[in-house]
Symmetry: C2
Subunit: 189 residues, 2 copies
């Protein structure tokens, strides 16, 4: 962050909150966040009501990058089956990245254990949008039960990213065959 | 815990650590743990080297109950397919329990984000044993690729329990059909 001399204190706080909570967990202290952002605690509390609000805002801000990294372009013209598989190729690839700690939107919900926390709500919504993407593609792809397929794909997404994040599995050769089996069984060819 | 007057300070600390970290996360303070256990901090440090060691020991102690709750009896005489499905019936049932917060052995690894932490190591080993159970049943059941099936079942286990734990899915009608599809595709009939 040292080179981003033109970024505002607000942007630096959002960046620090996203990076440090992903690496160290939601228990990261306000002092550490402010230090990493080069912002005083006083300034932080002028910008955000609380650490909870800062965390929620940082997840909100990352959502578009998260979606852009995972989802295919809306108008890529490829069939639904390929658009779904595209997402899981991205997931499988992340599994090989040493710094990967799993889906940040799953992790924050597991860590906070409080569904009414502002950051949990943001995370829940971002993941609901992912399930909605799967459901839409499942419908367009003629799935027998688009709701079931969307839930299955969300389950695979979270299971894969969680297991890769804790180092239980590198996902190589695992995710694609699993999704192909589910797509075949759902009638999405 | 108020009625367990005969339990030792050690047992009460292990119980409090398991219960409170599951409910509130690994960030729970030593003070809160000692208070819930009715044990002084001084006594705690006579029994455990650190909070990390207490947490690891509490996960270790819960492992046999975790396994007993999830796995079928070793000698139940049922075919591998049914023995695997038994585990996932248990998972699906947990999804409907309001206090369910997902698999404690997954949660602690996601929360700690440190694979060398003594509690992460215990959790990692307990889940490896689960994968080994799946692999053993997959082999006995004639799976084309027992390793792949064991990884897939572990992925479904973690994905399902994570999503139920955060309230993203109640698992009803989701887990069994998913596992049946994977077993069919693997040739385990």
């Amino acid at each position: 962050m040292g080179t981003e001399v033109k970024s505002t204190p607000r942007e630096r706080l959002l960046e620090a909150a996203a990076t440090l909570t992903y690496r160290d967990g939601v228990g990261i202290g306000i002092e550490a966040l402010c230090k990493a952002a080069g912002v005083s605690k006083r300034s932080m509390y002028q910008l955000f009501e609380s650490k909870d609000e800062l965390l929620a805002a940082s997840l909100e801000r990352r959502a578009s990058a998260f979606v852009a990294m995972l989802l295919p372009a809306p108008d890529d013209g490829r069939p639904p089956r390929e658009r779904i598989l595209y997402v899981f190729e991205r997931v499988e690839r992340q599994g090989g990245v040493p710094e990967y700690r799993g889906c940040p939107y799953l992790a924050v919900q597991i860590e906070l254990k409080d569904r009414s926390h502002p950051a949990s709500r943001v995370a829940h919504r971002v993941k609901e949008d992912l399930t909605a993407f799967f459901r839409g593609e499942a419908e367009r792809g003629g799935a027998r039960d688009p709701d079931l397929l969307a839930r299955q794909l969300s389950l695979v997404f979270d299971g894969a990213s969680a297991r890769a994040g804790i180092g239980a599995d590198d996902l190589a050769g695992l995710v694609a065959p699993t999704v192909v089996t589910l797509l075949d069984a759902a009638g999405v060819h």
